[in-house]
């Protein structure tokens, strides 16, 4: 089953975090990235919750696809099945958060529904199937990609904190300036794309 050596898995993970960063090279999950304006600490909390969702959904959707949909010949229903899995998972995570970390839950409450509709979660699940990864590799990829997502939103929360004090021309206030800052950050990340692993 494990046709992949340890070092290969590490390389896959490194490239998923930095070189093929979910936000900066694939543009999955760009909506919450641009819209969620938070302090770096809250961004980290949101990143961790999203990471857990992405990693667990990578595992669950692999199981659903290869053990349920494939034997029944229902591959074309994968979008629907995966969304059901993700929605249920996010709901469960929300309940656990509310039960065990009420303070984090209260600061993230407005964003938790967005986790289920985050492109990154469904995107990762579909990428795993498209690239024909085995179970271990799917979970590793999901985990690494979500670390990349967290890294990006934490860095960007820091950048945003600086933008708050800037006085741009009125037309650039808020959203346009945020996008342009994201463009600069994406340029910085595209510098890594020369690294071939």
């Amino acid at each position: 089953m494990i046709s992949l050596s340890f070092s290969q898995t590490l390389m896959l993970m490194f490239s998923a975090i930095i070189v093929e960063n979910l936000i900066f090279s694939k543009l999955y999950g760009a909506s919450p990235f641009i819209k969620v304006s938070e302090t770096p600490i809250t961004a980290l909390g949101m990143g961790i919750v999203t990471s857990v969702a992405i990693t667990l959904s990578s595992a669950l959707t692999w199981i659903v696809y290869h053990l349920i949909l494939e034997p029944l010949g229902l591959e074309h229903l994968k979008t629907m099945a995966f969304i059901l899995v993700i929605v249920a998972l996010v709901q469960l995570l929300e309940m656990l958060l509310r039960r065990f970390t009420p303070s984090l839950y209260s600061s993230l409450r407005t964003y938790t529904p967005f986790i289920a509709t985050n492109c990154a979660v469904l995107g990762c699940a579909l990428l795993n199937i498209q690239n024909n990864y085995n179970f271990i590799r799917s979970v590793c990829y999901g985990f690494a990609a979500s670390i990349g997502f967290t890294l990006a939103i934490v860095i960007f929360a820091g950048v945003r904190a600086r933008i708050e004090f800037a006085t741009p021309p009125r037309a650039f206030k808020e959203f346009p300036l945020t996008l342009i800052a994201a463009a600069l950050l994406a340029m910085a990340f595209s510098g890594f794309s020369g690294i071939k692993l």
Binding site: F24, S25, K26, L27, Y28, G29, A30, S31, I34, K35, H76, L77, K78, T79, M80, I83, L84, V87, Q91, P113, F114, A116, T117, N118, C119, V121, L122, G123, L126, L127, Q130, R170, A171, F172, K173, F175, P176, L177, T178, L179, I180, A182, A183, L184, A186, M187, S190
Partner: protein, 214 residues
Amino acid sequence: MSKNNGFITQLKNGIFDNNPTLIQLLGLCPALAITTSLSNAIGMGVATTAVLICSNILISLLRKFIPSKVRIYTFVIIISGLVTAAEMLMKSFFFDLYTSLGLFVPLIAVNCIILEGADSFASKNKVITSAIDGLSMGLGFTVALIAVSIIRELLGTGTILGFSVFGASYRPAILFTLPAGAFLTLGLIAAVVQKARYAKEDREKSKGREEERV
């Protein structure tokens, strides 16, 4: 006559005053990712609009039967079913488009514009107004995609719909085909839109002041 007017105002609202992507900031993901070429943008816009109209109609028809506690999940399931249908249709009739849009076809299912339309409009309104709302929001999204993709395709590859514009001597600015170019282009377009909005507000304000004086 008044009904006709309502249709046009609703359409104008979706495309200009309340554009889902440029003003409400919904559906940024596809607006950034697939806008490398105009044909992609048109395909994506049309597919999303079709799903949006169908989902608004279905949800509006079912609005009295969906319990409000589980409404979001019901919407998501209805939408993903429609997206699966759209995906299969696109795969059999527009295979080139399907391959170039890649995973962003199934990802229409998590486009916030559709869920937002379902939750804040279709679940409260009648079938026909919901369908028109879907059409206007979809067209607004398509217009935004086309605006971004024209700039990116023109500067990034020097072509429009595959036809060369600047001639063979043009050296394309590759930046615009990269994700960084996507953020940059959308940011600049959003700035232009914001500028126009502020100008309109100022005009209305000064008009109001003049009227006070009179």
